[in-house]
Subunit: 109 residues, 6 copies
Amino acid sequence: MNPVNAFNEYRQKMNDQILASNNKIIKRIFNLDTNAFTEGAVPARTKEMLGLACSMVLRCDDCGKCHELGLSDEEINEVFALAILIGGTIVIPHLRRGTEYWENLKNNV
Amino acid sequence: MNPVNAFNEYRQKMNDQILASNNKIIKRIFNLDTNAFTEGAVPARTKEMLGLACSMVLRCDDCGKCHELGLSDEEINEVFALAILIGGTIVIPHLRRGTEYWENLKNNV
Amino acid sequence: MNPVNAFNEYRQKMNDQILASNNKIIKRIFNLDTNAFTEGAVPARTKEMLGLACSMVLRCDDCGKCHELGLSDEEINEVFALAILIGGTIVIPHLRRGTEYWENLKNNV
Amino acid sequence: MNPVNAFNEYRQKMNDQILASNNKIIKRIFNLDTNAFTEGAVPARTKEMLGLACSMVLRCDDCGKCHELGLSDEEINEVFALAILIGGTIVIPHLRRGTEYWENLKNNV
Amino acid sequence: MNPVNAFNEYRQKMNDQILASNNKIIKRIFNLDTNAFTEGAVPARTKEMLGLACSMVLRCDDCGKCHELGLSDEEINEVFALAILIGGTIVIPHLRRGTEYWENLKNNV
Amino acid sequence: MNPVNAFNEYRQKMNDQILASNNKIIKRIFNLDTNAFTEGAVPARTKEMLGLACSMVLRCDDCGKCHELGLSDEEINEVFALAILIGGTIVIPHLRRGTEYWENLKNNV
């Protein structure tokens, strides 16, 4: 299995298990996570960029969200650039993994 | 003096002092900070939202950058909403200060 | 006005202003923040200690939540001790402010 | 070897190597780490929950400590819920790994 | 009173209060904090630079430790430069406060 | 292939891919990253220790930089000790990986 599908499968399996706990707070946060990225005063597309930049400066390895962005390489690179400027070179290892994942996504189509 | 002007004055004074050090690395990072937020594949306006969201999730008190955004209240609120969702309730004190600052900016015109 | 009351007043005023924005995501997160700390499999009292420890390791200045804990000095000190052990000496300035605030709370009664 | 045992073995091996360095500061911190979680004004069981919540909001992958908690699923879920509320959705990938590890622990008996 | 003396006084007062708690873990960590910065395989002077750089990337406002460094302006600036490179522009507000504090220290003699 | 060479190869491959993006901000930050660690008022050797300590307190897994330090075991251990004191026990998992990597480096010669 390619790494993108493997990650999606893992994520789905663990999310199912987490939600099976029936903890109301956890369920609502997962729910908000879906609702917050819909079209509003700020377009959904911009919101995904916000989510990606925030994830990177917080040094998160899980770029799962960016995978249906429909963003161009140039847009992704500008978001990455802001992330390492604001978050510092400490974010570079995540930039590497983000870039690797992005390549996998493009080759996955 | 109102708080917005007081902050701008302090920021300018300290930036001048920092740049007077003539440290090449510091100068270039300040320089990049200006260049990175210009129009590109991602519009300048979106970049300012990215900067604001990243600052908030990193729990930064210095919202200096957002002050010429020309963003609407609704846009600011959606950016704030994503920031406390992604960054957690620990960001709420910064949401309070951000909201206070935003009000001061609007009353400053 | 003493510092505890001043802080409470500021917090209330800013929360009112934030909620007046009518942003659904923000409202729900504030709401969860209230619901999450109620009695459950984990007692409310333990949850407040969890909230306090998490705030300290994340280097948060807003200890507003701990103010109705009914915790003893010894309990507070053990929570503080874990926080600076796990979070490191970088948390010490927040330990100072937490201690100061705690004293103010006790003198406020 | 199952993942829980593999992790414990790796942790033990590396801790041995770290302590073999004979650096006094490192030794004392490891020592404090053991002493801090003993019974006191705050019960040991509550302290383990504090440790787990702090680790999660700081986005730590090493949940080694929680493995002898004797906590119920409901308690673990409430601690997890507080962690993603306070620390934000950025903590969710760690929630997945924490849940996975917890399952492994239960199947390990 | 000048800001440096005011800060030192506040720090001393709060440290005294914290240590008066007689919590063994807290006392030992404060103790380690003193011992760790003494001459060793790494010189004390280098250790103070390490402490300063770590504080800045962790966005700490309490530069109390650097105040008896005997470091030159050039050395301080190079440490600051590394801190904003590694930690990102989010560290700049702390760079401002650090620079301000450093100036106060020099004028304090 | 041994883990040190595998990591170096991965890092080189991803850096090449990142720089191939031709994003000016990203290129300049990578460039600064090289320039900032050269001899200056602070010796290059001290700068590498600063970089290592900052990486550890920020809980970075990528110790790539420390691999040509020429530092002694005692120096590395003192830097590690400061990092877990300042950054807290949450840094210990990274201490384990750092120690493992350091051993691999020594066995790699």
